[in-house]
Structure formats: C-alpha cells, structure tokens
Amino acid sequence: MEKPRWQDWIRERDDPRIASTQPEALDDITVLDLSYKSFAGCYCSSLLAEFGAEVLRIEPPEGDFIRKCTPYGVLYKGEGLNYLSEGRNKFHITLNLEKPEAREMLKSLVAQADVLIETFRPGQMEAWGIGYETLKAINPRLIYASITLFGQFGPQSHSRMPGYDNVIQAMSGNQYDNGEMLPEGKTYDECPWAVPTKAGPWIGWIVAGTYMAVGILAALHWREQTGEGQALDVSAVEAYTSLEDWAAIWYQGAGVVSERFGNLSIGGWLYCFAPTRDGAVFLGGLRLEMWQAFADMLGKWDEWGAAEWKDLADFSTREEQLKWAERVFAETSQYTTEELVRMAVEYGQHGRLAPITPVVAPVCSPEATMRDPNWLDRGIFTPVQDPVYGEIIVAQAQYKLSETPIRTKWVCRPVGYDNEYIYLKYLGLGPRKLKKLKEAGII
C-alpha cells in the first residue's frame, strides 16, 4: 500500500472537525480566574480552558468592568464583543471579595484548585488576607499567577496606576518606533498620522496573558516532578517589550535609538509593504537569492544587475532601502495585488531561480480574511453554537494537535450564570444557602 501523502495523513489526525472526539490535555486542572479590568488574565485563562482546564471565572456581583470594554459601545445580547470572544469554556461565578465571608469561600476554592490567576494592583490580595503567603499555607501545590502593569516587586510596583492596553503599548518601547515617518519639511499638524502608532488589537494585554500561560504550564510541569507550587509574576510592560528583537542591542552596541521607518524594516531588506494598483502587498526576501528572484519576477534581472549582487547587507542601510523602495514601488504599483501574488507562486514553480520564491502576500482587510476559503477550510472561523448567545464567530483552532486538540464549547456566559452548579460542586451550597449569600451581597 502506498504511503499516504503527508498533508492528507496529518489532516486526518489534526483537523479541528474531529477535535471533539479527542482527549483534552488539561482536563485534570482547575483554574480560578480572578481577573479584573484586565484582558490579559481573561486571555490567559482562555488558553487553558481551550485545552480543557476547568476554569472558574470569579467576578464581583456586578460583573467585570472588562465586559463593558467593547468597540464603539456595541453590545450583543447585553455583552461586550471582546468579552464575548474570551469567556470561552469558562464557568462564571460571582464573589464579592470585599466581604470577609466571600474571602473564606475563596480559600475553600483555593484548597481544591491548581492555579489562581489575579490581576489586582500589587498588595490588594494581601490587603484582603488572600495573598500568596496565606493561600500557599492552604494549598502548597497552588500555582499563583499575577499579571499587572509593573509586577509584584521593584520600585514602581507600589504605583496605583491601572494597566490598560494602550498604556502598556506606550510603556513597552514598541509604539515609539512604529508608524509612518514625518515627511521632510512637514509638521505633525499637517500629518497627524505620522506619529508613534500603537497596534490596533489588545496585543499588550494578550502577550502578557500568553506569557503567563507558558509560565503556568512550566510551573505545572515542575509540580508534576516535585509536588511544589509557586508564585508567578508578569509585568505586562516587560512581557510586550520582550518580543522586541534588535533595538535594545543596537542601542547598547551603537548608541542608536530606533526611530519610525514606516512600512520598511530597519531590521533588513527586502521586507516591506508595497503599494499595488488596488491596495498593497507584503514583500519578503531575506536571502539574497529571494531578492534576486523578486527582481527577476518583475523582469528587472538585467536592468537592475541582479546577477552581480553580492550581499543583502549592501541593500539594508537606510539610504539604500529608501532608494530601492522607490524603484520597487514604481513597479508594484503597476500590478494588482492578485497579479503579484500569482506571479510569485508561478515564479516558485517555473522561474529562473525556482524553487526559490519571493514572498508576496496580500494585505487584506479583516473582512476579506474572514471570507478567505483557506482559513474557512482550516476551521478558524467555524461558528460556535453557544447555548446562551447562539451562533457566534470567534477566532479558534489557532493550533491543531493530533492527540489533544483545543476546542470551543461555548464563547461566553452572563455574570454569575454558573453560581448554582459551581457552588454546589465545590462548596456543597444548595439553592437555599445561595439565596442567603446573595441577599447578604456575598455572591
């Protein structure tokens, strides 16, 4: 029998369509998520919940403020759209930590949990008497994960500043040198868009939450070996800074402060967005042969003397990049995006330097992305049948696993939706007791 093609063989094993028939990697883990006013914490617990961890999302009785952080104030069935996407697979309970009785209930949950995630200002949990030192005594196996703006220690950890995504981005260093260059002789008043520019998505929060998920899982592995829990501390600013790749070394080695370079890349050539007749494409050719292939693809092999090129570093200085960008953009502007993308795929098959292929990719609107058959086929935008909210499209199945794939069972829950089930399951509190707790403002 012939061996099946690799892509068919692996698809049979990791297509998200069969995910629900597979085991879950983290279904032995219970997580308490106390995040407040922080998408970092919510995102972190989502990543664990997608792998099957039982996440108890603990909110104050009025709900987490983050639910009201929604684009242009748009709500869907009373829910903000960010939270609608990130309540996934979690059980939602309420607990008023301002009340001592509620804190005792939290301790009982901690005794039965593996991980606790919190995002309060440093010192808040201690002030409530539920800081790590106290909880560790209750459950030495606990992994206690704090995500804040500045972290749990260090001179600025005493700051009372709240940590929102746009401020994280500004503090990280990654906004400063991102954005369009101010055209020569122009002012900010004339070009209010040529300023340090942040990324649109909540990437500062999300990077912090993702790092914490990695930290929690590493701590979990350590606990499997030794039985020991521990405390984890992420400063969201440091987390987002740390994805920066070369600027800190450049500054230390050469004293240069990285400044905005628009759609070109200080880090190397060929690596830019270029205009087309109907939009823009990304061009990538980080090996000399790829840059040569690109020139060849445009029919410029002889005119540009591509055969003589020796080293990409010769093209990577500021002046050379600006010079070559002008030449390249004049060419790309004559084609449509689709034409250029096809030319590159073609070149990779039949070009002079094939299989060397210059990277040419369309710059899409997220609308186009959501319609792209390639992504639909790969299950990223498969609507979730949510028991409360109906059919909802969120991004999911972002990685595909052959043994323990992730899955989205539901996208969100209203505030306190799971109080009955969870308090009965973990604390044996039935309807009558819960009613009293509710009346007392404890849940």
Partner: protein
C-alpha cells in the same frame, strides 16, 4: 506586596532550579517564528540543541538594523537564541539525517519551521521520528499550516505576510492612510510564544499519559486569535473592522496625545473613578457629570468618544509628559510617555527586577538581555549565555550526548554531515575571539 515571596528575587535566581530541567529540545529553525519558541524553553531550563545547515546556518544571521552587527553577530539573533547548543548538521546528507534521528530518539520535543513536507523529504519528518521515539512532541510552525490551499501551493511566509493576510496591519493604522506593517515581527514572535502554550500543554499530557503528539501552528492563524472583537463585530454588524489610529475603540478615553514639547503620552481612564480623576486633573470636574460622558458605554459611542478625546487632546497640548504622568499617579488614571528604546534599556524598575538582565557571555562580553518575563518564585527562568557561530558545539553534542568516538566525529566532518561556520559576518565568532573561550570540548 508579597515581600517574603519576592525578596531578593534577582539575586537568588541562581540558587533555584529551572522548571524544564531535563527536557531536551531539538530545533531545525530559522528566522524568528522558529527559533523564538525553543528560545523561550531554553530560558526555562530546557536543553535546546539548535541544528543549522553549515556553513551559513540560520538566515536570521544576516539580519541587523541598517546593517549594524554587534561584535560581528546579527543583533536579531540574540533575543530568540539564548542558552542553546549549536550544531552544524547538514540534513541533506544521509549521515546528517542519521545523526538527527539519533538525537531525536533522545529528545522530548522537536521544533521546526520549514515548509510542509521538507523534513519528511529529508527523512527526519514526524512519521520517521515516531519510529525511533513514539512519545515525541513535535511542533511545525509555518505561514499557512500543513494542509489547505495555501499549504498545497507551497507558499512561503514571513511575519509581514501574516500581518497582511490576517488583517492585523489593516486595523493598526490611521484612517485614510495605507495599511501599516508593525515594526515588531509580531506574528513571528507571538506565533512562537503561542506555540509554546501548545507544546507545554502537550508536555503536561505526556506527563500524565506518556503519549506525545504532533502540533501545527500557522502564524497567520495565531495572530487572528489576538484580534478578539474584530470577528464577532463583523458577524454582528455586517461591517468591516476599520482602523482608528492610536485610539482604543473599546476603551474610552484611551488614546495617545501630543504634549506641549511635541513628545507623546498615552492616557487611559475608562472606569468611573479613573475618569473622574482625569477630569479633576484637567481642572474640568464637571465633565464627569456631563450626560454625554456619564458612563463607559455612553462615552464609547462615536460622537461622545470623539468629543472627549478632543477635549483631552487640547489639554495635553499645554502640558509635558512628565506633568501628566505625575497627575496620573495623583488622580488614579493611567498615563505614560511613549517610551523609546533608550527609556526601556535605562529603566531603573526593570533593572531592579532583573528583567533587564546582565549577561556575561564568553564570546559577546557583557550586555543586557531581556529575561523571560514570567518571574517564577521557585524556579527562576534565566539567560545564561548567548549566541554562537554555526557548529560551535558540535564536539560537545556528538561526544557528551551521542557518545561518538573521535573517529566517528572525524568521518562526519569528512562527509560534510557536520560542519562549522563560514568566515562571514554573522556566522563567524567575534573578531576578538581567542579560538578557545566558550568552547566546551576540544579547546586545543
């Protein structure tokens, strides 16, 4: 503050164990999407063996800001590649493939970011590794995954392609301007980070059951996962998500403003107490009572948001960033100047925490690197050493891990399966290297 837990954290890192001690990772990775993942694990204490095709190795070795090389090394190579062991192994050659399988048999995790099917063509793909190590955890990171139309077309990808194809760049610019490529290689670095969530979840599953598995990650899909509201918004409203410059359309007020001295400051004050504080700081306490701004959902509505941001912008234009940072602390809202890399590197708080960590590298000398940004009280991650020339640790890996004899190693060199660096910038050692320092074996 949890004083006892974090006391002397920076000073006591090296008296603690590492969380991934004993985990061996084999990487065949280039540029950033590939190597960054094992780089995170290496900071957490995994033993990472980086395989490069000699003598040129990782393409990333060519990359440097405006062609500036740090001691002849690519500046870009440093952050994704600490604490690794570097071998120059030619996987085109059967002898190289054999060595790789011997290493894979002794590894826990394999990471690669080649195009689909390439590893299999080299006889070191997932199916072939399964024969020597059935419990392997294997992650392949690419632009488009292993299957589907774009994978079938064998399209190459870069970070910038993913920024374009996901819509990330589309919404990260000012309205009316062309899409803006983020200056970070965010789809590479973030894709790699997210991939490690899957790898470590798989490790937990292996700890429980002994079973390994295959993981595929597309960097475009990874970055789509971060664009939370965009997808349900498009579904619910039938409208495309658009750009908004520095304004956060989900939080109000939250924007970047120009100060009196033409520097920039980011401000956020969405919850009621924060907004009240900001209004007081502006000397406009009545704004907090204005029906247009009475609660967060009301402020978020387009005309109200535009108006309050205009009012704040006018105020900021008369102040310096320092003043506003001070007022933010005093009145309880969030604000920061837009910090440059100089501000970041010289930040006293980050240095006190050890996030900016001093590396005393045998080849590169002393410099500050970013520590893994999850501080772990019991098992502190840390950077110990930095990047190495192609094939620098061949002898160590062949001898210490595979137990090869001198003759066997010599034969591997002779057939070209093993190799070392080319005498090219980015590949060779720093110019002041003495031919010995940093080598673990064979220093003579």
């Amino acid at each position: 503050m949890a004083e006892p837990t974090w006391q002397n954290y920076k000073e006591t890192k090296f008296s603690k164990p590492l969380p991934l001690k004993g985990i061996r990772v084999l990487e065949v990775c280039t540029l950033l999407l590939g190597p960054s993942g094992p780089g995170f694990l290496a900071r957490l204490g995994a033993e990472v063996i980086k395989c490069e095709v000699p003598p040129m190795g990782d393409t990333l070795r060519s990359m440097a800001p405006f062609s500036y090389f740090f001691k002849d090394q690519s500046t870009s190579l440093i952050r994704p590649n600490p604490n690794k062991y570097w071998i120059g192994l030619d996987l085109h050659k059967p002898e190289g493939q054999q060595v790789f399988l011997e290493l894979a048999a002794k590894a826990d995790i394999v990471e690669e970011n080649l195009r689909p099917g390439v590893m299999e063509r080299w006889n070191v793909g997932y199916r072939q590794i399964l024969e020597v190590n059935p419990s392997i955890i294997y992650i392949a990171k690419t632009g488009f995954g292993q299957w589907g139309q774009y994978a079938e077309e064998n399209r190459p990808s870069n970070d910038g392609a993913a920024q374009g194809m996901s819509g990330y760049a589309w919404i990260s610019r000012f309205p009316g301007r062309p899409p803006l490529k983020n200056r970070l290689y965010i789809c590479d670095s973030y894709g790699a980070l997210l991939g490690e969530v899957a790898v470590l979840a798989a490790l937990h599953y292996r700890d429980r059951t002994g079973k390994g598995q295959y993981i595929e990650l597309s960097q475009s899909e990874a970055i789509m996962r971060t664009m939370s509201w965009v997808w349900p918004y498009q579904q619910m409203t039938g409208k495309g998500a658009g750009p908004a410059g520095n304004r956060d359309v989900s939080i109000c007020p939250a924007d970047t403003f120009r100060c009196a001295d033409d520097t920039f400051v980011a401000i956020a004050a969405p919850d009621e107490a924060e907004f009240r504080g900001l209004c007081q700081a502006m000397g406009r306490p009545e704004l907090a009572e204005d029906p247009r701004f009475q609660d967060h959902l009301t402020r978020l509505q387009e005309e109200h948001a535009v108006e309050i941001l205009r009012i704040i912008a006018e105020w900021v234009r008369t102040r310096t960033a320092e003043e506003i940072e001070r007022l933010a602390e005093e009145y309880g809202f969030a604000a920061s100047r837009v910090r440059s890399i100089q501000d970041v590197v010289e930040n006293a708080h980050s240095r006190a925490r050890g996030f900016l960590t001093e590396v005393d590298d045998p080849l590169l000398g002393e410099f500050l690197d970013y520590e893994f940004p999850v501080m772990m009280s019991r098992t502190s991650p840390r950077v110990r050493w930095s990047v190495r020339p192609v094939g620098f640790d061949n002898e160590y890996v062949m001898k210490y891990i595979l137990g090869k004899s001198n003759d066997e190693i010599r034969r591997l060199y002779e057939c070209g399966a093993l190799g070392k660096w080319a005498q090219v910038r980015g590949r060779r050692p720093p110019p002041d290297w003495d031919g010995k320092t940093g080598l673990i074996l064979s220093r003579e």
